[in-house]
């Protein structure tokens, strides 16, 4: 389908998985290593299709497991390549050690993780527990809301990962099933426009890479203060990633006409007494409920987390300041902590953002829909909390029929 006005982009109706594959292909990776897993498989099928047609010129490595996928792309990145891989759930768990190697060696790997419930109870269904379980892997973690944003975030991910001031691998997350198989309207930019967007990466100082004949080695032992120094640098780079992502998002908006707000998206939060904090595909549904509530005169808003690691503490503190009630929706659980994982992190900021009640909502586990009704329930509870009524700290919304 050709866009009528813009020759620089094609309007297509494609799934979230296809959008991820288009995003990767447009960035012209050198090496792509992949292993199939539901609901990610379509991403890699699409990439092999692109390679077969010649649309993608990359070394394609159909590895024998996710662990190898991550190792192949990390090493290829060390050898100077732009790389891509994709996974989900158990696959993410299986590559965990290699993910640590990628971030520890500061390999600018870009990966798509299609969120799915994680090991323990087998579930071929959506949930963010996989992303949460790699929280401390030293990766930058982004979360997309819809098909278009998946494609756009993959482009932004390369800008972030390969930024000489960052050099940290980036994981783009999107809900399995809800987005992986959702076919919607996506504007697919031309390769030319994408390479213009990425061109700035070619103008920065070269990072160290492995080449025959050069006496450089990567993966050296960090001994005592040497180890401390590298950890400190990594943590500092993660901090820099926050502002960098905001700036990249702004630049993206000016070049492609789509801006998302950087680390967080604020939706009708201006005068809102009650604010929900959420991430991923459920935010679309939440926005429709917010609109409805606004029509009824209820001052509610949504803060959408687009960046999970580094955690946008400053932005959240700012936007949550002096609200009457804040609800955090987690599509995952916290084992041995009160409430969801994102909730507990928002709580850690509550001393800074003021005296609002903060409630935890666990919803959408294992493909239990985060329905409009659920969102209404949450807002009702928050209204009660805002009025000072006692409310449960944690509500498993998805457990109630």
């Amino acid at each position: 389908m050709q866009a009528r006005s813009e020759q620089d982009a094609r309007i297509m109706v494609i799934t979230g998985n296809a959008a991820a594959a288009y995003g990767a292909m447009l960035c012209r990776p050198d090496v792509v290593a992949t292993y199939p897993i539901t609901p990610q498989t379509e991403v890699i099928e699409k990439l092999f299709e692109f390679a077969a047609s010649g649309e993608l010129d990359a070394e394609m490595v159909p590895v024998e497991g996710e662990n190898s996928a991550m190792n192949v792309v990390t090493a290829a990145s060390m050898a100077g390549g732009r790389v891509f891989t994709a996974t989900s759930s158990w696959g993410l768990a299986f590559m965990y050690d290699a993910m640590l190697a990628a971030s520890g060696t500061r390999a600018p790997v870009v990966m798509v993780n299609v969120n799915r419930e994680t090991p323990g109870i087998i579930a071929v269904s959506s949930g963010q527990q996989d992303m949460i379980s790699t929280r401390d892997s030293g990766w930058i973690q982004l979360v997309a809301e819809d098909c278009q944003e998946i494609l756009d975030q993959v482009l932004m991910a390369y800008r972030l990962a390969e930024d000489h001031d960052i050099q940290v691998p980036v994981m783009v997350n999107y809900d399995g099933f809800y987005l992986s198989y959702l076919a919607g309207k996506v504007e697919v930019p031309s390769k030319k426009r994408v390479s213009d967007f990425l061109a700035v990466l070619n103008e920065q100082p070269k990072r160290q890479i492995l080449l025959p004949g050069q006496p450089l080695g990567c993966g050296t032992h960090g001994i005592l203060q040497g180890f401390v120094e590298l950890r400190y640098k990594h943590v500092q780079a993660m901090e820099r990633a926050k502002a960098a992502f905001d700036a990249i998002d702004q630049e993206f908006a000016s070049q492609f006409g789509r801006g998302y707000g950087g680390q967080i998206e604020e939706y009708r939060t201006g005068d809102a007494d009650i604010v929900l904090v959420a991430s991923g595909s459920m935010c679309g549904t939440i926005k429709t409920v917010v609109d409805r509530k606004r029509e009824q005169g209820l001052p509610v808003g949504l803060v959408r987390l687009r960046m999970y690691r580094p955690f946008p503490s400053e932005k959240l503190t700012q936007v949550l300041k002096d609200r009457k009630a804040v609800g955090v929706v987690d599509r995952s659980v916290g084992f041995g902590i009160q409430g969801g994982p994102i909730y507990s992190e928002v709580c850690s900021l509550s001393a800074k953002f003021g005296g609002a009640s903060v409630l935890s909502f666990i919803d959408g586990l294992a493909n239990t829909d985060v329905t409009s009704d659920h969102v209404e329930q949450m807002l009702d509870l928050l209204s009660a909390a805002a009025r000072g009524e006692p409310c449960p700290q944690v509500t498993w919304v998805c457990m109630e029929e």
Binding site: M1, I11, M12, V13, T15, V124, Y178, Y181, K185, T285
Partner: protein, 182 residues
């Protein structure tokens, strides 16, 4: 916004039908989003897919519990209760069947478009692949989509002789759908 629920069996192309429909809506300047119900879909197993179509961007990402329209690709499911579950009032049914209804299957159902899509697809494609024919019937029954945009959309999913065969299915579905009111 209209919400459409598709019922079929693995192999009949219900998911693809919902995607082609989204594609056709985007072609007329509207927005569409479609996705399948999740499960271990295998050839032969019942399959559900969803589609939302609107002049504004579609933001909801939930399953559809109260459809405006149900498209039933599988003749054997015409009497399944779950096919009619949650129907909005004045709902529309598009059905693949050889025979019309004798009684109204659900009180909220107002309109039905019935076409023998299995037979048509066997004649045109060579085997029972009712999905594109059903899209033609959808256009004829609901009036929400011009046939041309569906025809154009087919080009994103088929090529060559398969495309031609499916265009014939689509057109025949449009022409041969028997639309009636309860």
């Amino acid at each position: 916004m209209i919400e459409v629920r598709f019922h079929g069996r693995g192999g009949q192309g219900a998911v693809m039908a919902s995607r082609i429909m989204a594609n056709a809506f985007v072609r007329i300047g509207q927005y569409g989003a479609s996705f399948p119900m999740f499960g271990f879909e295998r050839r032969g197993a019942p399959v559900t897919a969803f589609g939302r179509f609107d002049a504004n961007p579609v933001r909801e990402k939930t399953q559809i519990y109260h459809p405006d329209i149900v498209v039933v690709l599988d003749p054997s499911q015409r009497f399944f209760e779950k096919v009619y579950s949650g129907l909005k009032s004045h709902a529309v049914l598009v059905l693949n069947a050889a025979l019309p209804f004798e009684t109204q299957p659900h009180e909220n159902l107002e309109t039905a478009g019935i076409v023998n899509a299995d037979q048509i697809s066997i004649e045109e494609v060579g085997r029972a692949l009712p999905n594109t024919c059903m899209l033609g019937a959808f256009a004829a029954t609901t009036g929400h989509l011009p046939l041309e945009s569906l025809e154009a959309a087919l080009e994103d999913y088929f090529q060559g002789s398969r495309l031609k065969a499916n265009v014939r299915c689509l057109r025949r579905g449009y022409e041969e759908a028997a639309v009636g009111h309860f």
